[in-house]
Symmetry: C2
Subunit: 243 residues, 2 copies
C-alpha cells in the first residue's frame, strides 16, 4: 500500500464566520496549509511562505486534520475552508476533501488559479482569485483559462474574485470579468494596512476603502453582475490571526 503523503498544516481554527467572497458569513472551520508559489506584496498570510512560520508547520495525515477539526469544532460545524498559502500546490488534498465529504461536511477553497488539481472539481465553494498588479505578481492566463474550462466542463459552482487596492487593480478586475463573463464575479476591497492594531483607526479606514470601491464600480457598465465586498473579518477582528 502506498503511504499517503502528509499535508503541511500551519493553522486549524474555528468555528468562525467566513469573512470574504461567495460564502461570506458562512459558519466554517479553517485549515491553513503552508507554501505558496506567489509572494504578493500585501499578503496577509506571508508566514505561510516567507519562512517566518516554518517552525509551526506540522505534517499531518488527512485523518489527523479531520480529528483535529472535530476536537476543536465539535459537532457545531458542517463546512471547512481550506486556505493558504496556495493549497493548489498540494495534490494530496484529495484525501482530506473526500474524508470531509464522507462526514457530510462541505468544503470551500481559495486559490490564485496558477495550478490545476483534479480535486478542484470536488470543492463545493471554489474561488479563483487571480492577483492584480499591486500584488507584484503576474497572471498566467493560459493556466487560468484551462482551470476555468475544466471547472465549467465539470459543471461545478465556482467564482472569480479580485482584490482591488487602486485603479490599476480595478482595470485588471474588469479584464478578468470580461474574460470569464459567465462566472460570478466578486471584487474585494484590499486591506493595505496590515500593522494597525487600534480598531478606532482601522475600522473607519476599512469602511472608507470599501466605500471607495463601491463608488468606482456602481456606475460601471462593464461590471453589471458584480458583487462588491469587504473582508468582513478585518472589520470585526482587525489584523488578528486565528479568528
Amino acid at each position: 500500500m502506498i503511504k499517503e503523503r502528509p499535508i503541511p498544516v500551519l493553522e486549524v481554527f474555528g468555528p468562525t464566520v467566513q469573512g470574504e467572497g461567495m460564502v461570506i458569513g458562512r459558519k466554517t472551520m479553517f485549515v491553513r496549509t503552508a507554501g505558496c508559489d506567489y509572494s504578493c506584496s500585501w499578503c496577509d498570510s506571508a508566514f505561510t511562505w516567507d519562512g517566518s512560520g516554518k517552525d509551526d508547520i506540522r505534517l499531518l495525515a488527512a485523518s489527523d486534520v479531520i480529528a483535529e477539526l472535530e476536537t476543536i469544532g465539535g459537532a457545531a460545524f458542517d463546512h471547512v475552508t481550506i486556505s493558504g498559502g496556495n493549497p493548489a500546490l498540494l495534490p494530496q488534498l484529495g484525501g482530506l476533501i473526500d474524508g470531509l465529504h464522507a462526514r457530510g461536511i462541505q468544503v470551500a477553497l481559495e486559490t490564485q488559479g496558477s495550478r490545476w488539481q483534479p480535486w478542484f472539481a470536488d470543492i463545493d465553494d471554489l474561488t479563483l482569485s487571480p492577483k492584480p498588479p499591486s500584488s507584484g505578481m503576474s497572471t498566467n492566463w493560459e493556466v487560468l483559462d484551462d482551470i476555468v474550462r475544466r471547472l465549467s466542463e465539470a459543471g461545478r459552482r465556482f467564482c472569480m474574485k479580485v482584490v482591488v487596492f487602486d485603479d490599476e487593480d480595478l482595470a485588471y478586475a474588469k479584464l478578468v470579468h470580461e474574460r470569464y463573463p459567465g462566472i460570478p464575479f466578486y471584487a474585494q476591497a484590499g486591506n493595505d494596512n496590515l500593522t494597525e492594531t487600534d480598531p478606532a483607526i482601522m475600522l473607519p479606514y476599512l469602511v472608507e476603502r470599501y466605500e471607495w470601491l463601491i463608488g468606482r464600480t456602481m456606475a460601471d457598465e462593464t461590471l453589471r453582475g458584480i458583487h462588491v465586498l469587504p473582508q468582513l473579518h478585518t472589520w470585526v477582528w482587525g489584523n488578528k490571526k486565528g479568528v
Copy 2:
C-alpha cells in the same frame, strides 16, 4: 382589455450594493413598495406603513417602474431588489417581474412570509424573513409552512433569514432553522439604533452587535449550516435613506 393594477412605489434607487442576506454585496437597484401587514417595533422603513410617507407614494405601471430604473441606473445593472413594506401584499408585481426578466434582469425580493403570491416562484433570490419576538409580531406558521412547501415544490432557490436582537430572538431563529432544516439559513444582527447619525458611535456599536451574534452562534450545534451577517449598508451609510 383589463387595465393593469398600478404598483404603490415609495422609492426607486441605485445602483448600490445589497447590504444583507443571500446576495450580500451584489450590485442591485432597489424598488421599495408601500404598505405592510406588519408593524415591527424596530422597522427601519416604518415610513412604508406608518403614514409618514403617504405623500411620497406614486402609483406606477410596471413599465413606468422599469423606465425609471433604466433612467436612474442606465445600463450599469442586471439585478433589481424589490423591498417594502411587504411586497407580497401586491398581486400585481408579477408583471414587473416578467418585464425585468424579459430584459435579462434578475429579481430579488424579501418578505416576512405572511402571504403567498404565485409570482414567488419566479423570484431569482427570494428571502423569507419571519419576524422574531422583539418585533412584537407573531408568526402564522401554517402560512409560512405552506409558502416553504410551494417554493420547494417549484424547485426554487430561496433562503430563510431571521434578524436577531437578543437571546429570545435567537431561540426563535433556532426554531425556524429546525422547522425548515434543508433551507439555507441566515441570522442577521439587528440594528436597534435607528436615530444615531455619528459614524464614530454607530460603527463600533454595530460591529459589537455582530460580534455578539457570532459569539452566540458559533459553538451552537443546532446552527451548523448557518450564515451570520451584519447589515453591511448600515456599517457604511448608517441610517441614511436611499443608498
